[in-house]
Structures are given as structure tokens and as C-alpha cells.
Symmetry: C2
Subunit: 363 residues, 2 copies
């Protein structure tokens, strides 16, 4: 007993076999109220019996001009992005938003993964999506270029801040102020700054004010300038700024070492990243420097490890950023089908300063 498969199953073939029109079958799936419950049942039953999997999504999308998915572009090689808690949290927020919008998420495996760098953005060109969310990429990132080329709604998160695109992020300048101010108010005057990746090209070492003004990674630069502003207002003008391009245990440790060696007079270190701050804590422990007794330290991000160590830090809402970006994109997509763009939306989310236990008055 072999059931033969009558070619490929399509909505039309099903309709033909049942002696109804394609319209009716289509309605059975998409507009239950447009046909009698009886016919609908009959159609659905027949479909199940014959193994017709329902209307082909691609054909449906072509016809309706609607993909039901939004593209997500994460800076790094996608596989690395999952190792970074911040981007994972961001994705969680996106997921929340997309569930609410009955939309799927299309992750583009960007980064130096694919074959040639030239055809890498081709995945962007080929993705069947209704819009993109781009998370923290450089202003001239080729993937971002590819996304713009698609002519679909785009929302940028964190970076680039000035691309003229709808934006979700935080006010980095304002966000770091409470941390800087806490240090100042505790009485510190010898303060150093540790920052991550200020420039696109690898730059490690101390950065002069002139050089800093040219830093092209705006998020990190804003945090440094935000802090410097507070320090300057307090009359603290001699603030060494040290940067590292990479952000791992090794580099942060090296950075902390270099800063403390070059400036033994420091009584406080402000970091633009929790990982940097944790590096400082590690070096301090190794050298028997008491924190916060002899050295105050602040971070930025609010990663879990920071919370566990009681680090004084600025907590930013990664998951909320994802949700906000998702919702903003959804509304752009919804609107795009009607009214023109209007003013490009820009949403800044609030951050909070976590007092922690790593700040004390200088000795």
C-alpha cells in the first residue's frame, strides 16, 4: 500500500482536488470569517490528510510585501556576540519586543566570519526582513552601509550616534557624571581614567586631550569627556587617560598595571567599562592595595560580575534598549506603510548609578 504523492502540494492543487477555488482555500487559512465553518473544516481536514503544509511563507510574503521578520545586526562576529553579556541582554529585549509584535528575528552572522569581506554584506542584501536593528557598529561599517542600501526602516542602537538614523541609546556624557562626581565629592583630586577602544584602529596607551578629541568611537569618547568635564569643573585638570583596544582579562589587567605604575600618586580610577574596573580591582589585590581604603574605583555597564564584587558603577539598561529598539522599529515599519518618515525618532534611556562599595575618601 503506497500512497502516491501527487506532485508538489500547493494551495492551488489542493483547491483543484477539492473542487473549490484557490481563494476559498486561502480564506480558510487567512480569513476564517469569509467562508462557512463547514467548508473551512473540510479544507483544513483535507490539507492535513494530504500533508499540505499550509500557504508557502515566501509566496505569501511576496504577495503581501511583508516578511514578518526584522533583521538584527550585531557588531562582532555573531558567535562572539553571544559571549558578551551586554549584547545578549540586548537580544533578550529584542526578543521581547518581537514576541509582542508577532515577528521573528533574523540574525545576520556578520563580522569576519563569512567567506570574502566583499560578499559578507550580501547576507544583508538577501535577508527577507521588513527592517533592521543595528547594534553598536562603527559609523562606516560595511554592514551598516549594506543595511542603508536596502532602503528599509533602520534603528541604530548605541552607535553610530550621528548617522541621521532613528536611534536608541543612553546619554553617555550624562550617564558617567554621577560616578565622576562621587569621586570628586569623596575628595579625590588625583584621578586616572581607563577607557576601552577609543579608536577604530588599535590604539593602546595614554591619550592626550588633542588625540581624544579625534576619537572615533563616540560611545567611549563621550564617557571620557563626560567624566573630564566633571573633573575640570572641580578644578582637577591633570587627568591621565589610558586606553586599550581589546577588552579582555589580559588587556584590562595590563592597562591597570600601566596606569598605576605610571601614576602612583592616583587615589582613584574611573573606568568606562566594568571589565576595566574589575581589572583594576585584580591588580589592586595583587599589590595589596586596599580598595576603597587606598584606591577608589568606578566602572560602567552594570554587568553581573560587577554587582557581585560590589563595584561602584553606572548601570545601563541593555535589555530595555533592545526592547525600545524593537518597538521603535516596529512602529516605523507599521507607519512606513502609510505616512512618510516625519522627524527621525531618538530615544535616550535612563541609567542609574550604583553606589557600591569601591569609593571612599582618599587617605
Amino acid at each position: 500500500m503506497v500512497k502516491r504523492t501527487p506532485q508538489r502540494k500547493t494551495l492551488a492543487s489542493l483547491a483543484a482536488e477539492l473542487g473549490v477555488s484557490p481563494t476559498t482555500v486561502s480564506n480558510a487559512y487567512n480569513r476564517p470569517d469569509q467562508l462557512s465553518a463547514a467548508t473551512r473544516q473540510r479544507i483544513l481536514a483535507a490539507a492535513a490528510a494530504r500533508g499540505y503544509p499550509g500557504p508557502d511563507p515566501t509566496a505569501r510574503s511576496l504577495r503581501t510585501r511583508h516578511a514578518g521578520s526584522v533583521g538584527v545586526l550585531l557588531t562582532e562576529h555573531l558567535s562572539y556576540a553571544f559571549e558578551d553579556q551586554a549584547s545578549v541582554d540586548f537580544l533578550a529585549g529584542m526578543a521581547e519586543a518581537s514576541a509582542g509584535a508577532d515577528t521573528t528575528l533574523t540574525l545576520i552572522p556578520a563580522g569576519p566570519g563569512s567567506s570574502s569581506p566583499a560578499d559578507a554584506p550580501s547576507l544583508v542584501a538577501r535577508a527577507a526582513v521588513d527592517g533592521f536593528v543595528v547594534y553598536s557598529v562603527a559609523a562606516d561599517d560595511p554592514y551598516l552601509e549594506a543595511v542603508r542600501g536596502r532602503g528599509l526602516p533602520v534603528v541604530v542602537c548605541d552607535q553610530p550616534t550621528d548617522a541621521g538614523l532613528p536611534f536608541v541609546g543612553i546619554d553617555d556624557v550624562a550617564a558617567i557624571e554621577p560616578a565622576a562626581r562621587a569621586l570628586v565629592e569623596a575628595g579625590h583630586t588625583k584621578i586616572g581614567i581607563l577607557a576601552i577602544r577609543l579608536f577604530r584602529e588599535p590604539v593602546d596607551g595614554f591619550v592626550s586631550p588633542e588625540r581624544l578629541a579625534e576619537a572615533d568611537m563616540h560611545v567611549q569618547r563621550s564617557r571620557v569627556t563626560g567624566a573630564l568635564q566633571v573633573f575640570h569643573e572641580a578644578g582637577i585638570t591633570d587627568v591621565p587617560v589610558l586606553t586599550r583596544h581589546l577588552n579582555n582579562a589580559q588587556t584590562t589587567h595590563a592597562a591597570a598595571t600601566e596606569l598605576l605604575d605610571a601614576h602612583p600618586e592616583l587615589t582613584a580610577v574611573l573606568c568606562t567599562t566594568d571589565s576595566m574596573a574589575l581589572g583594576v580591582l585584580t591588580v589592586a589585590r595583587e599589590r595589596g592595595i586596599d580598595v576603597p581604603g587606598e584606591l577608589s574605583v568606578t566602572g560602567f555597564d552594570g554587568i553581573q560580575a560587577a554587582g557581585l564584587r560590589g563595584l561602584s558603577t553606572v548601570v545601563q539598561p541593555n535589555k530595555a534598549k533592545g526592547a525600545a529598539a524593537g518597538h521603535m522599529l516596529a512602529s516605523l515599519i507599521a507607519r512606513g506603510e502609510a505616512e512618510p518618515p516625519e522627524k527621525t525618532p531618538r530615544r535616550l534611556l535612563p541609567t542609574t548609578f550604583e553606589r557600591g562599595t569601591t569609593i571612599a575618601p582618599p587617605r
Copy 2:
């Protein structure tokens, strides 16, 4: 000077304006070797000038019968999945595989998130993908049903183990043996077992052997039976098994408390999950019970927190599972377009036992 936008840009309209055929334009994008470099340049330039974004992905997919994306279905509400390190690692592995295959990843926001439970799997039905990877769901999960209904290649990871579908996972029975054996070899005879979610419906408390045989969450059950087997062979037959449905700090703490209260004679606890084991460590510390001096503890999974605490545990390769599942699906998709299914593939990945520092002979 206003450039007028001549309606919607399509490949055909571009071709018409340039006075070439649609084929030629198509080739300019897809088969550079099928036309002169000159014409290609002319076409691409014209496209850029007019803002033609390139061939529409949906139409292309319809025509080529190929979506260039694989669907990923994670058990929990997608947003929760990102809070679970194991599934994040799994996704990282998937990402790696998909980058290699020049494919995007379509995440389906499953779980109790969407509108009505009835139309929730509809996202599965509407996803434009070439196949699915399903990660650790119940055998009768409605999303899994929906996936099967699509008639596309599917790879299951972890669960269900016996769906007759291509499978990637570990041998849970064998995997836990080294942990159980280490306890036995250290000389323990009073051993308890802590397990997570043995049943689909919420079950909290002690589980009799009869009840255990009925447990429908096979992964967890296998770990318990694998351990029991080792214990029985060593003549240890009286082994209390306690389970909790939820897996968070609170429930694991409560479970540990309940087990130690009911069985103060225990000198060792084997857990089917690191989180459970960490719960035991927490309770032990609270009660001043020395680990491993007075109590030996083992876990399962190899999460980061376990490593940091020196937990003796079975480490499973979550990222490798993702990569393996991704590759298996890719090959099924590639093949599907030629040969018939053949034997359904099944891949078991190796696990390792991490000795750790939480096992010692009983006092």
C-alpha cells in the same frame, strides 16, 4: 531640482530604463561571469544612482525555492532563553555554523509570549526558512508539532530524544556516570540526588522509583537513572531522589534544604544540574557544613559559576552542540534537494568530568 522617483524600483524597471533585458540585470547581480564587465558596471552604477536596492529577497526566494535562513526554536519564551547560559552557548554554536553556511538565523519567539496559544505556532508556519533546529522541547510541544507540519528538514537537540528526528545531544546516562562513580570511589554510601523538572507538569518533592520510571523529561530522567545504576552496582540502594520543577536560586535553595533536612545522614549529594549543586553549596555554607569535608557535591552542565566555585561536575559542550546541529541541518538541506532522507542521523557529543574540589571521602 527634484529628482522624481519613477514608481517602485524593480529589476524589470531598471532593465527597461537601461534598455537591457531583465536577465542581464539579474546576471549583473548573480552571475558576474555571464556578462561583460562593462555592462555589469553600467548596470550597477545605474542601480546605485537610482537607488535600486538590488533584487528583492522574497521574490528571489520564491523563484529559487530557497530562503537562505534556518529557523531556531528554543523551548522557553525567547526572552528567557537568553538568560540561560546553556542556550546562549548553543546559539553561539548555531551562529558559527550558519556563518560558515552563509545563512541567517531566524529566531522564533516561542513560548507563552505571543497572543493566543492557538496562533502562537503560526509564526512557525509563516517563517521563511529552509529548515529548523529545535532545542530541548517536550515531545508534544505544539511548536514542535508546527515544525513537523512544515515538512522541512528538522534537527532536534537534547529533546525529545525519541522523536524519530535527526538528533544532536549527549548520552546523559553515560555522562553522569563518572560523577556517580567518583562519589562511590571516595567511599560514600549515603547519597542523595537532586534533579530538576522530571515531569512536564509541576512536580516538587521526593520521587519514588516507580514514579521516576514515568518521568517524561528524558534528559533529566536519564541522568538520574544513570547515577542510580552506578549506585546500585555498588550496593547502594537507598537513594532519595528529590525534584523541583523550577530552576532558580530560590527553588534550588529550597530543594537543598528539604533534602538535607529529611536526610541528615547524607554525606554526598549528586545533582543533575550545576544550579542545583550551587544551591547545595549555598545551604551548606549557611549551615556551616564543610564542603567537601562533611558533604561532597557534584553537578552537571559546566556553567561558568560552577567552574569558579570549583564544583565537581560533568561538563557538556553546549556550543559544540549548536555547531553540530547547525551543520547537520545544513547537510540535510543540501541533500534534501537531491537524494532521499536515508538513515536519520544521530550525533552524540562527548562530555567530560571535571574533578573539581567538592568531593572528598566521608568523615
